[in-house]
Symmetry: C2
């Protein structure tokens, strides 16, 4: 049975939704695929459900090929397992929490590591049961601060999350590679370009982690890539550390009055005038030390003030800092914080004064002090002297202040050298479409998942976690496959194979259309049939362009002569063809 537009639950919209920031959101709403219910929460209309089912089918096929078994967990779960692993708190405001009528704490699960671990613990007990890969395709919830981009970042979204269980590290490596290979096959089938980048594991814990990023201007992540093959999420990028410098002959630092140095450049000019370097190389902005005071906010409510020093030509990237200090959140220190530390003089903060260290373990403030990895032993710096209007020139790292605590805090820039020596990197906007993690033994340890090994000894299981955003992928495909007039679905996920349009009012047109539709369905094609009697051809063509079925058959005046028109939505090409050849053309 074809789907007939005359009674299909579908209304295309002429106007863009006012809240749509991205193309996929705009077109999926206008073409009648989805409908907003609340910020970041959507209902799926019949067309959207069809595409979503096809996306899920491809993922299921590749999960089966990877030997993974499908299960399904509830969204609503008790607090206890998440309390045990610490994630109940770590997620902060990012998850939905609630109480049941008896007052028990529950959550809408943002991801399911805990309960998959407990399920395997419940059922399995021997290394012979492993390796195991199980997955679900399930609706997840995260209380995003700013849900945006329609399906690209919703508060409810469908995710495929898989988990692997092994009893050896080599087994985990193989399981990880197996899932990673499946992801490559999946994204290839969707026609999605991707980069596999080193990633920070974030709140998931664990060691090895890679993201599949689809390069796109609407992406909310940035990643770097070198011509030599290095690729990493900006949060996971590591600095190429320069060689240390012998400072045994270096002069002592000198404090100067620097009254008219409102900018880094004026400060550098003052230094070059008053305190030229022994080497003769002029001071530059990269030789100034920018000391930034931040507050770490831990899940237990603790607030710790720290200081980070980066070269003055760089900025501190708070997202990179948060990775280093997770699960703490990070913000700039406020006035109240500074009042607690009068030794720090705003605008002139530095790790040192002539009386000794201010920051770090041995500093008078007791504030922990971290430096950018470029601040290696022997480097010489201009920085604040903790006195109004005064700076110190020629401060030596590793002599005048400690450099034992480094942190990847600086922003990453195009042209920065890749840490593996593969050359300078470029910066690319990307959308995360998949994520593979080696969780290792963290969850199994905390939740007590052990099996007997070959020697009858209880060993802790090692796990991987593998996620694909089903609804996000659908949006990314829409983002990539459209033109000014609407969507253009790839064949792998199109809601229908062929869109047949009857134009005009002659009965012969509708009769011919029924013949075409029946012939297409007989060869197994899924047909959307625009059989509306009182709608103009212009509106029908416009709807077809908006909806985006890639292959269209127009049945019009030529029908009387046995001729219809094939319309390729993507190329725009039209060609005439005899009615009896239509089915063969599509099979």
């Amino acid at each position: 049975m074809p789907t007939r537009l005359s009674n299909y639950f579908l209304r295309t919209l002429r106007e863009d939704p006012s809240d749509a920031e991205v193309t996929s959101h705009r077109l999926l709403v206008r073409a009648g695929y989805i409908r907003r219910q609340a910020p970041g929460i959507f209902a799926w209309l019949p067309l959207g459900l069809r595409v979503k089912a096809k996306v899920e089918k491809i993922i299921r096929e590749e999960m089966a090929a990877a030997g993974a078994h499908e299960v399904h967990f509830p969204a609503l779960l008790p607090r206890e397992p998440y309390e045990t692993t610490g994630r109940w708190d770590e997620y902060g405001d990012g998850i939905f929490r609630l109480k049941d009528r008896k007052g028990s704490d529950m959550l809408l699960a943002p991801t399911h590591e805990e309960v998959f671990t407990l399920l395997v613990k419940d059922l399995y007990s021997s290394y012979k049961d492993l390796p195991l890969a199980i997955y679900q395709i399930q609706d997840k919830y995260r209380d995003e601060a700013r849900s945006r981009g329609g399906l690209l970042r919703g508060r409810e979204f469908t995710m495929k999350d898989a988990y692997s269980f092994d009893h050896t590290d080599a087994g985990l490596d193989a399981s990880y590679q197996n899932q990673r290979d499946a992801y490559e096959r999946i994204f290839t089938r969707f026609g999605l370009e991707y980069a596999i980048v080193k990633a920070d594991a974030g709140a998931m814990g664990g060691s090895k982690s890679e993201e599949f990023l689809h390069p796109t201007a609407v992406g909310e992540d940035t990643f770097v890539r070198s011509a030599g093959g290095y690729a990493a999420n900006v949060e996971a990028f590591t600095t190429l550390v320069p060689a240390e410098i012998d400072f045994t002959a270096a002069a002592a630092p000198v404090v100067y009055d620097t009254p008219d140095t409102p900018t880094i450049q004026t400060l550098v000019d003052a230094a070059n005038a008053a305190h030229p370097r022994a080497s003769g190389v002029a001071w530059t902005a990269a030789d100034t030390l920018k000391n930034v005071v931040l507050a770490l906010m831990f899940p237990d409510g603790t607030r710790e003030i720290i200081a980070i020093a980066v070269p003055g030509d760089r900025d501190v990237d708070l997202k990179r800092v948060e990775v280093a200090f997770g699960p703490a959140e990070v913000e700039a220190a406020n006035e109240t914080d500074f009042l607690r530390y009068p030794a720090l003089v705003k605008g002139y903060i530095g790790p040192w004064t002539a009386e000794g260290a201010v920051l770090g373990d041995k500093g008078t403030t007791g504030i922990r002090f971290f430096v950018d990895p470029r601040v290696v032993a022997g480097t010489e710096w201009i920085t604040g002297a903790n006195e109004n209007g005064r700076h110190v020139f020629g401060l030596i790292a590793g002599r005048d202040f400690a450099i034992d605590q480094t942190v990847e805090a600086s922003d990453v820039r195009a042209g920065d050298p890749a840490p593996d020596g593969s050359g300078p990197v470029e910066l690319i906007r990307g959308m995360e479409i998949g994520h593979v993690f080696q969780l290792g033994r963290k969850y199994a340890e905390l939740l007590g998942l052990k099996v007997l090994d070959e020697n009858g000894k209880l060993v802790t299981v090692t796990m991987g976690s593998y996620g694909i955003g089903v609804t996000r992928i659908l949006a990314v495909i829409a983002e990539l496959n459209n033109d000014a007039k609407g969507l253009i679905w790839p064949e792998s996920v199109t809601p229908f194979d062929v869109h047949v349009i009857a134009t005009g009012r002659d009965e012969v047109v509708f009769e011919a259309s029924e013949t075409v539709v029946a012939a297409l369905e007989a060869t197994g094609r899924e047909v959307l049939y625009d059989d509306r009697r009182k709608v103009s051809p212009g509106i029908k063509f416009g709807d077809a362009e908006l909806i985006g079925v890639p292959k269209i058959v127009i049945v019009g005046r030529g029908a009387a002569d046995g001729i219809v028109e094939l319309w390729d939505r993507r190329s725009g090409e039209r060609e005439q063809i005899a009615i009896e050849e239509v089915a063969a053309h599509f099979s």
Copy 2:
């Protein structure tokens, strides 16, 4: 590709789960279909997912045949639409409520009338768009006080909920009948016996409502049925009202000291001795008036005390009372309530004293007074006199106390006459498996869903709501299809078509098994293949009996001679068959 038990994610359990109260729960857990996560919340294992998918497929097919379109709404929804219809409060503790990070109220939807109404309001505007039927298969949440029976009453459950939209009453009748017919087809395909009974509409509002009840001892509903064809939920049963009696010649009531009447029978005996009726017919327990004081608790927090009078041989059925006074909840009046009304003397409560009315509009207490429909004008009663140790004999309904407010408060008993005159009813335990409602215009009115009619006039849409519990049906099927050894699935929902068991360790057995499996799969059968090498035949047979695939092929010693055994799980019959005939046998 067959599913091979050697690496399938499945462990059958020897022990019954300790919390399982019903057979389906016990067997579905033991056979590895589901796994408890929290009270009334389950995870689905691979076998369970397969059966659930088949149940959903049958429902989808019949929904499509009924012309309904599938959509999908989120479980997490904003408060506002439910506030507008009053259900945010009416559901009381029965739903899960939460706040998002911005403090907005949200809920996990127990059912979706509001958002379906708003969706149609968003997209449709003309009678030409109607009739419309749309549905979803979706996970719902209700915070049941006592979730029990495994999947029979969970706090999370999958439901098919459909909604119809019409602009005329006749249209709604047709849509309702259309869905009702689809339900009959669905339950027939599942092999489920059902009774269609008149039902109370409960929190849904609306007028006409019927339940599909499956007769089963584990059912939590009770319904009545007469030989003449009357069927109703106990909550919807109405009393056959007796004829009024002329009381013009009746004597005045008399108050007696009744010191030694601890039971109804002793009171009746005292009445027959002291105050025989003029008619000579002896007093019986059915002639005493039992006055019950109850508290109505309204969603807005109001507590109202009311009194209900029923014949003394009956009990008040609080569930029936709640239907009458919904959305208020009902409980017995407590000591504090009685302290407010000293005119009511516990143990001797009545509507009347010699000084005048106590209960009802004209009563000294102001308490609303309701009577059972059997308390018609002219009936003569024995009841409390609101004095310690005293009763009144010969109180006449409609003369000595008002009978204008009747309520269906009495319990329903086997042998009670059906209200339509079709004879006495029997009482049957049943499980609700479907529910069809004529909502009428309530939701459309409150949410502003109107369309233009044939005359260009805006008219309010009239709606129906139709629900089937997907996971409950699966449990009911399991409840009905099992024996002491395990499940026995009907072919319509079996997780696999054929279960092939290789027994013994001879290579010829495994080779023959592969041949059988391949031949079965070539004819389109879904095969579960027990290829485990180190598991005894006894355990394999036990697992097969527990899992419940109805058709089993045992490949054993006969394989060397080209012979295998067919085992019918339901009848227990076994027959030998040549390997090359197996595929033909199943197709």
